[in-house]
């Protein structure tokens, strides 16, 4: 996906990542493995699925709706600012799907595989979304 498409997501937009509640540690930090791209050989898009707040708000939905779509008994949601992810060497673009509004993609610049320490950095930078079950 060309970088000019990534520029369509504003820096101040919030990026949501759905993670399993079981993968949140007692200190509130997600496990590093939560921030992996999908496996390349499974026929999927080979990126980390995210959701953009501006589209969710435009659709008059909320992050709670996103959590409930995935199943609030199993999943929760953590957040980043787009600018933070870009500063970490991630690129983002919109990739709508039928599951929920605001779906997008996050992948390393240059399409490299995210290393374990890069995943760890994302885990530490992610913020829990307040008010979720």
């Amino acid at each position: 996906m060309p970088n000019d498409v990534a520029a369509e997501v504003p820096d101040d937009c919030t990026v949501f990542r759905v993670v399993k509640k079981a993968d949140i540690k007692p200190d509130g930090t997600p496990e590093s493995g939560c921030f992996a791209d999908k496996a390349a050989d499974d026929g999927s898009s080979n990126y980390m699925s995210v959701y953009f707040s501006d589209e969710i708000e435009d659709a008059k939905l909320s992050v709670r709706d996103l959590q409930e779509k995935w199943g609030s008994d199993i999943y929760t949601v953590v957040a980043f600012h787009v600018a933070v992810l870009r500063a970490e060497g991630e690129r983002l673009w919109r990739d709508p799907n039928d599951d929920f509004v605001g779906h997008g993609a996050c992948k390393r610049l240059g399409d490299s595989t995210r290393t374990r320490s890069q995943k760890r950095r994302l885990a530490k930078l992610s913020k829990p979304v307040p008010g979720l079950d």
């Binding site: 496990e31 493995g33 939560c34 999908k38 499974d42 995210r114 290393t115 374990r116 995943k119």
Partner: protein, 89 residues
């Protein structure tokens, strides 16, 4: 995840000191398996995937920048790091 990757993961875990606490295990969407420990000031994790080039050890002190080295050839280093971490408790 391929069997040889699971074997590499098991071999690395088997070399950890006896008193090593149970880690948090995680399987990523990229078909990697990870184990991580938060012990006092230290954070240690390992990752193994189908591609051996992604096998790694991550070590971090006081939530600073994580350092990463390949797991291949460094399992004794992982053992040594964990020994030091456990002695610090």
């Amino acid at each position: 995840m391929r069997l040889d990757a699971l074997v590499r993961f098991a071999r690395a875990c088997a070399e950890l000191p006896f008193r090593t606490p149970k880690p948090r295990f995680n399987v990523g969407d990229d078909a990697t398996i990870g184990a991580e420990w938060d012990i006092g000031r230290y954070h240690v994790e390992i990752q193994v995937g189908n591609d051996i080039s992604v096998d790694s050890i991550v070590f971090e002190v006081d939530k600073g920048d994580p350092d990463e080295i390949p797991l291949a050839g460094n399992v004794p280093f992982l053992t040594e790091i964990m020994s030091i971490v456990l002695k610090s408790r």
